[in-house]
Subunit: 878 residues, 2 copies
C-alpha cells in the first residue's frame, strides 16, 4: 500500500508499470465463447453518473412498472430480469435483494390482480462475504477454477436463493396472469468499497472474460428454450452496474470498458444535486466515448432544475425524466414516492420498449436499404442478395458485433480476419484510447490548413515516421489521403529525381530537349498493385482491374517483370521461379528452406542465384533500352516481400534486394509501396527492415493510423526533395489534397505508431529485435500446408494466407471456389474475405497468439471439412 | 418554472426549443476583440471533477507555495494572480477572499522573510449580492450596458477592494524581496446555486463574450507594461472555475465550452471519495473532448487509494498528486494541513512551471522543425523562411489560435478566411458536437469493412445524401476518400454509361469493336480543376499544375471550352464572353445585371444569348467529331457556377445550363464536380440547385463532413448504376479504397449535413427557400467592387472573392502581388491565402453576418491602404 500522501510525478509514475500491464492483460484475456446476446427482448444496462444517485431505486421502480396491469394492456411483459454482476458491501448491501424486496412491498401495497413469482439469488461471494452470509454454517473451501487462461478464485459458490409467490387477496382465480421477477447477484464482496479494492483485499478475483461469460449465461437463462417459437416469453432484462460509469470493476478495468463488448443500450441515472449537471454530462460523455447508446437519462429532482441545462446540452438526442425528490422519511418504505413516480417509470418503460422496437426494425431494414442505395466497391450487386448483406453493429478491438437472424435475432461476434481490407490494428484497449484521442483532436483542431503552417499532431507524426519507418534514409514527409494518392505523389517525386539526376531536367529547362521526346516508364513487378487512381494504375501490369471497361484511359506505363515467389508447401518453404527465368545450375539449397528466416537470410546475397537474378535484371533493362528510343525507366516501384492484392504472393526477398541494388546503381529512384506491408503487418515495423535495404521514396497508409481513419504519407530522402527546390513556386511539387495532414489522421498515427512499438502496450513485441513474436502456431501452419486441398501457405507477421488447390475457373480473382469454406468459417465466428481461391487470416500487431491459434484451429477444421466435401463432390462427379 | 416531477419524453422536448436557441446565440455572439493571452508567464485553469472537491484549497495552497522562499530559490515568481470569474453565494462565499485570507494566515503562520502585498477585489455583483455586501449603503442603480451585440445587465460595479501588507516580524530591512498576491472575483451572485440559475433569478446576466473580454482584461492587468523588457515581472495566474467541468456558466453555456476559446492548460482537482474515480475520469474525458490539455490531477486522499486505478487509466499521460485528508477539525485554520501538503503543492508548482517551459520551448521550436521535415504541398520551401511558418495551436469554430512572437509571446486568434482550403464549416458549437461524435464513432466502430456490409453511419449518410444534394435525381452512393478519387470514379461511371448507351459496350463485349478503336474524351471548361490524381488531372486543360515537370504522364484527354464569366464591377454584375464566342447582336440586358439573382434567373433561358450559347456548343462538338475518327466525347464534367482553383471565377449559369442540356440531349453523361460548391458553400445545399438542372453523376467532399475529416461521395442515377449490373464481378465497378465509407467520415457527414440544413442550428438558413441569407453586406461589397485596385468581385454564399487589378507577372497563379495586403490582414486577425492576385474571404454556412461584416470592413480598410501604397509606388516609379 502506498503512503497516504504519496506524490506521483511523472518520474514516479514509471514505477507503476505493474498495474498498467495487469490492466492490459485483463482486457486482452481471450474469450472462449463469443460475446453474444439475444435480441428477442430488450436488455438494458443501468449506469450511474455517480455512486448513490439511485440506480437501484430506478431498477425497482422499473420492475414494478413493467410487471403491472398498465403494462399488460400496452406491451405485455411477463418476466423482468434484474442482474447485479458486481456487488460490494455484501450481504448488508444487496441491490438485487433490494429490488426483490421493494417489488414485493409495492405489490402488497398496490395489490394488483396478478400472481408474481419473485426470486432473488446470489451466485458467488468472496470468503468474507460468504462468512457474513452463512454465519456459523460457513466452512466449505472456496472455489478456484482456471481454464484456458480465464480465472476466478477465492469465491464460494453461494447458491443463495429465495423466492416468494405474490398474490393479491382476490385469490388465484382472478390472478390468472402469472408474472415473474428474477433478481440475481453474480458476485458479492464484503467491504463496501470499489470492487477492485474489495476483490484485492478479500482475495476474490474474477477476470473480465469470466465475468462476461457468467453475465452472458445469466442473460440467457430463463429466456431461451422456454415456450418455443410461437409461445414467446416476453422479457425485459436490466443489468445494474456498480458506482459510476467509470468506476473500476473487480479486475480494475473501468466498468464502461469492461461491459463494452456487449455494448448494450444504456439508461443513465443522472444527478439532481448541485454539481449534478456536470457529473451527468461527463458521465454521458464517458459512455459515448465507449460507443454506448444512451436511451434515456433519469434523475431525482433536488429542486435545482438540472433538466434545463441538460436539455439544452442534449438537443433532443436523449429524453430526460425527472423523478420526484426521495423523502427523508422512509417510514412508508417509499410507497408514496413510488406511487408519485409511477408515471415517470411508465414513461421510462415506454421509451425503453420503443427504442428496442426501433432498433430491431432498423437492424432488419438495413440490408434491404443498403442494397437499394449503396454502390459497394469491387462488388457485383447481383451476387449479393439481401440475406448475404452483413449488418455490422459495432467493432470491439478485432471483433465485429454483427446482427444475425437464425431462430431468433442475435447480436454476436465475428473476428475481423480480413482486418477490414488490411487496415486494422487496434485491440479493444487501443480502440478506446484512439476514440478519446479522436475526440480531443477534433475538439482542439478539427482540421487546419497545412501548407506553410505547423501544428502539433502533424509535427509529431512526421517526427515519428522519420524516426521509425524512415529511419536511416528518409528526411521528408509528404502527407496525403490514401495509398493510391501516396503512390501518385511518389511517382511524381521519382520522375523528377530521375530527370534531375540524368541531366534531362536541365535540358528541358534550357529547352535543349523537347518534353515530347522524353517518355518515362516505371519498372514494376507483375502481380503487384498500387492503387485505383489512374496514376497508380498505370504502374501496374494489365489485369482485371485495368481493362478498358474499367478504365478506358489505362495504358500500362511500365516495364513489368515476372518475379520469383516463395511459399510453404508440405511444411517446407519453396522457391518458385517464373518461366522467364531459365537459370542453369540451380542448387537445391537455393530452392528450398526449412525455416522462413533462411529465406530472408543475408547470406543468400552471395549465392549463385543472386548472380543469376542480377544478370536477368540487367538483361531485361538492356532489352528494353535497346528496343525503345526516348523511353526511360524513371522509377522502380515494388511492394516489398508480399504482393497483397495479387493473391498474397511472397516475392523472393533476395530477388527484390538485387532489383533495388541494380536500380540504385543506375540512379533509378526506388519506391517501396508499404501501404499494405508497413507498420508491423509482416512482423517488422516496415518490410524494408525485412528486405534489409532502403528505398529513396516509400508510401505508407492503412495500419499507419491504427486502421481508424484514412491518411497516408510518402517519405523521401533529402536528395529527392532537393530536385524540387528552386526559386519558383512552379518548380515545387504542385500536388495536394484539401485535408493534407489532417490533425485527426496525424493524431491517430501518433498514437498507433507509439502503441505498436511499445512493449508495454504491445505484448507481442520482442523489443531487442524490434520484431513481433511468431503469432501463428508453426505446427498448425505446417499441418495446413500439408493438406491436399492447400496448394501453398504464406505466414508472416500478422498474415497467414493460403491458396486452395484449384484449376480452371476455380482459380483466380473471379473464382467463387472458396465460398462454402468462407461461409462455414463465418458461422464459426471468423469473418474472412477471399481473393478468389486465396484465403487468409489477418490479425492486428497486438492480437494475442492464443486468439491466432484459435483462428488457425478453426481454419484447420474448416479446411478438413472443405476437403471432405470436395472429395465427396469429386466422387459424385466422377 | 416547470412542475417538479415533469416528465420529458421526446415529444415534450420540442417544447423547449427556447433555451436551446438561446444556447446557440450565446455561443455565437461575436467577440469585438480577439481572444488572446500572453505566453510570457504561465496561466492555468483549475477545474473540479465535481463541486466541493477542494479547488479553492488547491488555489490557496498553490499561492502559498509559489510565493514562498523555496520558490524564490528555484524559479522566482513574484506575483500570483488568482481569478474567480464566476462566484455564486456571494458575499458569504467568496473564493477569492478565501485565497486572500488563507494566504495571509499561512504567511503569518510561517512568517517567511518577505514582504507580500496581498489584495482582494470584486468587480461586479448582482443587485441582491451588492445589497448583501454593501448593506445600508446600497442604493445606486445597477449597470446596464449593451454594445455591439454584447450585453451585461443587472450588475452593480462593486469595486470592492481590500489589501494588506504582510511582513514578518524581522522588519522591512530583511524583507527586501517584495511579492504580490492579487485575488479577484469578476462576477458575484447572491444565491448559492448554479450560476445560470443565480443569473436568471437575480436578473443579472452576462453574455459569454463579455465574460471572456473581462477575463482577458483581468489576465492582462498588472502583467503588461510593468517593468518593460529587461525587467520582466514573473507571474503565475490561475483561473478557478465554478462547480464541475461541465457546470453551466452564467449564460447557461457549460463552463468547459465557455472558456474553450482560451484553451488554457488545465489542473483538474479530482475526487478522492467513493465514486470519485469515475467522476474524475469522466471529468477528465469531458475536458479532453473540448481539446484541453490536462497538466496534472490533484485530489484529497480519502483512504480509498483512488490514485491506483487513475494511474492505470492515465498511463503516464498525466501526473497525479494526492493531498492529505482535510481534517474535520478546522480550529487551526488548516495550518497543519497546509504544512503537510507543502511538498504536494511544491510538486504541483514544479509540474506547472515545467509544463509551461516545455510548451513555450516546443512552440518556438516548431517552425524550424516543420521546415526541416515537412514537405508541404504546393509550396516552394525556399519561399517560406522560418519566421513565416505559422504555428497553429488550435481551432475554435472558424478561428485559429496561433502563436505569435512580437514584443513577447502571445496566443492570439485569426479568422480562418481560407476555410483551410475550403473545407471548413463548423462554428464552435458544431465543432464540439462533432468531437463527441468522432469519439463515439471511433469507440463504436473504428473503421469497418464496407463491401457487402451495412452499418449505421454509412447508411444514414447515404440516405441523407440522396435525400439532400441527390434529391430528385440520384439513387446510388459510392464513397471514396477525397474529391480527386470521387472524380476518377465519376469518370469511370460516365464512360461506362456512355459506352452502354451508345451500343459500344455491347460491341466490345461481342468483339464487334476493338477497344483500341475507341478513344474516350471528356468535355470540360477551361479553367476548371478536378483534383491532383492523374485521372482527375486528365480532365483539366493544361495549366501550371499539369506540366511535364509536374506530371510527365499528363496528356489532357479533354475537349476544353472557354466559358463566359460573370462578376461585379463598380457595383454592377457584368457578363464577359471569351474571345471564342463572337456573338452578333448582343443585347445590353443580356450583358449586365443590377442584382445577382437576375444572373441566375430562369427567364434567361429564353434569351437570344441562350440560343447563341446553344449554337456555339453544337458547333464545337461538331468541329470535334469531324476532326477525329474514333474519339468520342464520353462525359461532360463541370464545376457548377464557380471555378474555384481557377481563380474564383463565376461561370455564367445560363451557359452551364445550356451546356448540360446539350450534352444530355446527346446522351453524354453529365458530371457535376461539387467538391468545392456543395453543402452551402455557395448559399444553397448544392450548386445544382442554383443552376436549376440535374447531373447524372455528382461528386462531393470538403464541406460534406463539416470540414473535419476527409471523405467523398460520388452520387449517380440508377441508369448509371445499371450499366455495371450483370452476372460477372468483372462487370462491376472495380474501384475502391481501404477506408471506403469509413464510419467516422460518415458520422461527421451525418452530423454536418443535418446541422447545416436545420434552422434551429444554422441561424443563417432561410428555411422556406432553403437558402442561406446574404452573409456579405451588399453595400460594402459594392464599395469594394468600385475601388480602383479591384478588377472584379464575386460574392455568393460563404464566398466573397475579388481579383486585384494587375498586369504582367503581377497577374496569375504565380503572382506575389497580393502579399503585402495579405500580411496586413493577418496582422488584423484574418488568415487569408491568395490565388495569385485573386483573394477571397470564406466563412462557414453558420457564420454570423456580423462576423462577415467585420471581415469585409477590415478587407475594405486593407484594400484602401493597399491602394494608397500602390499609388505611392506608382508615383515613385513614374
Amino acid at each position: 500500500m502506498l503512503p497516504i500522501s504519496a506524490i506521483f510525478t511523472s518520474t514516479h509514475i514509471r514505477f507503476f508499470s505493474k498495474p498498467f500491464s495487469i490492466h492490459l492483460r485483463r482486457l486482452l484475456s481471450t474469450q472462449s465463447s463469443p460475446i453474444e446476446y439475444t435480441l428477442s427482448h430488450p436488455i438494458y444496462t443501468i449506469w450511474g453518473s455517480n455512486t448513490g444517485v439511485g440506480k437501484t431505486l430506478v431498477s425497482a421502480g422499473l420492475a414494478a412498472s413493467i410487471l403491472s396491469p398498465l403494462s399488460l394492456s400496452s406491451t405485455p411483459i411477463t418476466k423482468f430480469i434484474y442482474l447485479k454482476p458486481v456487488q460490494t458491501g455484501f450481504p448488508s448491501d444487496s441491490d438485487s435483494y433490494f429490488v426483490y424486496r421493494k417489488f414485493s412491498e409495492i405489490f402488497l401495497h398496490r395489490r394488483p390482480p396478478f400472481t408474481v413469482f419473485a426470486s432473488n439469488q446470489t451466485l458467488k461471494a468472496s470468503t468474507p462475504a460468504s462468512k457474513a452470509t452463512l454465519g456459523a454454517g460457513y466452512g466449505v473451501e472456496s472455489l478456484q477454477t482456471e481454464e484456458g487462461g480465464k480465472w476466478e478464485s477465492g469465491f464460494r459458490d453461494l447458491g443463495l436463493y429465495e423466492e416468494r409467490k405474490l398474490q393479491s387477496e382476490g385469490g388465484e382465480e382472478e390472478a390468472a396472469v402469472v408474472l415473474e421477477l428474477i433478481c440475481k447477484t453474480m458476485y458479492g464482496w464484503r467491504e463496501p468499497v470499489s470492487p477492485h479494492l474489495a476483490a484485492e483485499r478479500e482475495g476474490a478475483m474474477v477476470s473480465d472474460s469470466v465475468l462476461l461469460d457468467t453475465l452472458k449465461r445469466c442473460l440467457g437463462i430463463g429466456v431461451e428454450g422456454e415456450g418455443g417459437e410461437d409461445q414467446k416469453v416476453s422479457v425485459l432484462s436490466v443489468i445494474e452496474t456498480a458506482g459510476g460509469v467509470a468506476s473500476p470493476g473487480p479486475s480494475g478495468s473501468l466498468q464502461c470498458d469492461l461491459y463494452r463488448p456487449f455494448r448494450l443500450p444504456a439508461i443513465l441515472v443522472g444527478d439532481g444535486r448541485l454539481g449534478g449537471i456536470s457529473g451527468t454530462i461527463s458521465a454521458y460523455e464517458s459512455l459515448k466515448l465507449r460507443g454506448y447508446d444512451v436511451v434515456a437519462i433519469v434523475f431525482e429532482d433536488r429542486g435545482l432544475v438540472n433538466e434545463m441545462p441538460l436539455l439544452s446540452y442534449l438537443r433532443n438526442r436523449v429524453p430526460i425524466l425527472v423523478l420526484p425528490p426521495v423523502p427523508q422519511d422512509m417510514s412508508d418504505n417509499l410507497m408514496k414516492w413510488f406511487d408519485e413516480s409511477q408515471n415517470v417509470f411508465s414513461s421510462l418503460k415506454e421509451i425503453m420498449l420503443s427504442a428496442f422496437v426501433e432498433r430491431i426494425k432498423r437492424l432488419h431494414d438495413m440490408p434491404k436499404k443498403a442494397r437499394d442505395i449503396f454502390w459497394w466497391p469491387f462488388t457485383q450487386h447481383t451476387l449479393v442478395p439481401e440475406e448475404k448483406v452483413m449488418v455490422i453493429d459495432s467493432r470491439c478491438g478485432e471483433h465485429f458485433a454483427i446482427h444475425k437472424v437464425k431462430n431468433h435475432d442475435l447480436m454476436t461476434q465475428q473476428f475481423d480476419a480480413c482486418a477490414s481490407w488490411w487496415t486494422q490494428g487496434p485491440d479493444a484497449t487501443l480502440q478506446i484510447e484512439l476514440a478519446r484521442d479522436m475526440g480531443y483532436t477534433a475538439a482542439r483542431f478539427g482540421h487546419v490548413m497545412f501548407p506553410e503552417n505547423v501544428y502539433e499532431p502533424a509535427l509529431e507524426c512526421a517526427e515519428l515516421l522519420l524516426d521509425g519507418v524512415g529511419k536511416g534514409w528518409a528526411s521528408r514527409t509528404f502527407f496525403s489521403d490514401n495509398g493510391s494518392t501516396a503512390i501518385e505523389i511518389a511517382l511524381k517525386m521519382a520522375f523528377r529525381k530521375f530527370l534531375f539526376d540524368h541531366g534531362i531536367l536541365a535540358d528541358l529547362l534550357h529547352s535543349k530537349t523537347d518534353e515530347k521526346c522524353v517518355e518515362l516508364k516505371v519498372l514494376a513487378l507483375r502481380g503487384s498493385y498500387h492503387g485505383d487512381t489512374l496514376g497508380a494504375m498505370e504502374a501496374q501490369a494489365p489485369s482485371s482491374y485495368t481493362g478498358f471497361l474499367q478504365q478506358p484511359w489505362y495504358t500500362g506505363r511500365g516495364i513489368f517483370l515476372d518475379p520469383p515467389t516463395v511459399f510453404m508447401c508440405n511444411g517446407i518453404w519453396k522457391l518458385s521461379l517464373p518461366e522467364t527465368m531459365q537459370f542453369e545450375k540451380l542448387k537445391a539449397e537455393d530452392m528450398s528452406f526449412y525455416l522462413r528466416d533462411e529465406v530472408f537470410c543475408k547470406s543468400r546475397n552471395d549465392s549463385s542465384l543472386a548472380d543469376s537474378y542480377s544478370l536477368h535484371i540487367t538483361q531485361e533493362l538492356l532489352l528494353h533500352s535497346r528496343s525503345r528510343g526516348f523511353t526511360h525507366v524513371g522509377a522502380l516501384i515494388i511492394e516489398p516481400v508480399i504482393h497483397a492484392s495479387g493473391g498474397m504472393q511472397m516475392i523472393d526477398p533476395l530477388f527484390q534486394r538485387v532489383l533495388v541494388k541494380e536500380c540504385q546503381s543506375r540512379k533509378i529512384p526506388v519506391i517501396f509501396d508499404e501501404v499494405f506491408t508497413g507498420f508491423w503487418r509482416l512482423g517488422a515495423e516496415s518490410a524494408a527492415d525485412l528486405l534489409c535495404c532502403q528505398p529513396d521514396i516509400a508510401c505508407y497508409a492503412k495500419l499507419m493510423t491504427g486502421g481508424i481513419i484514412p491518411m497516408s504519407a510518402t517519405l523521401a530522402t533529402d536528395a529527392v526533395f532537393d530536385a524540387f527546390v528552386g526559386d519558383s513556386k512552379l518548380k515545387a511539387l504542385l500536388h495536394g489534397h484539401s485535408y493534407t495532414a489532417h490533425a485527426m489522421g496525424c493524431a491517430a498515427a501518433v498514437k498507433s505508431i507509439k502503441w505498436f512499438k511499445d512493449p508495454q502496450t504491445n505484448l507481442n513485441l520482442i523489443s531487442e529485435e524490434m520484431l513481433l513474436r511468431e503469432l501463428w502456431n508453426m505446427e498448425l501452419v505446417q499441418q495446413i500446408s500439408s493438406l491436399p486441398v492447400v496448394q501453398r501457405v504464406v505466414s508472416l507477421g500478422t498474415l497467414c494466407a493460403l491458396e486452395l488447390q484449384a484449376e480452371g475457373c476455380n482459380a483466380g480473382y473471379g473464382s467463387l471456389y472458396a465460398n462454402s469454406l468462407i461461409q462455414n468459417l463465418r458461422q464459426d465466428g471468423i469473418y474472412m474475405r477471399p481473393l478468389g481461391n486465396v484465403i487468409y487470416l489477418m490479425c492486428g500487431p497486438c492480437t494475442s497468439p492464443q486468439i491466432c491459434t484459435q483462428l488457425l484451429e478453426k481454419l484447420h477444421t474448416g479446411l478438413n471439412e472443405f476437403s471432405q466435401a470436395q472429395e465427396k463432390l469429386g466422387s459424385y462427379v466422377s
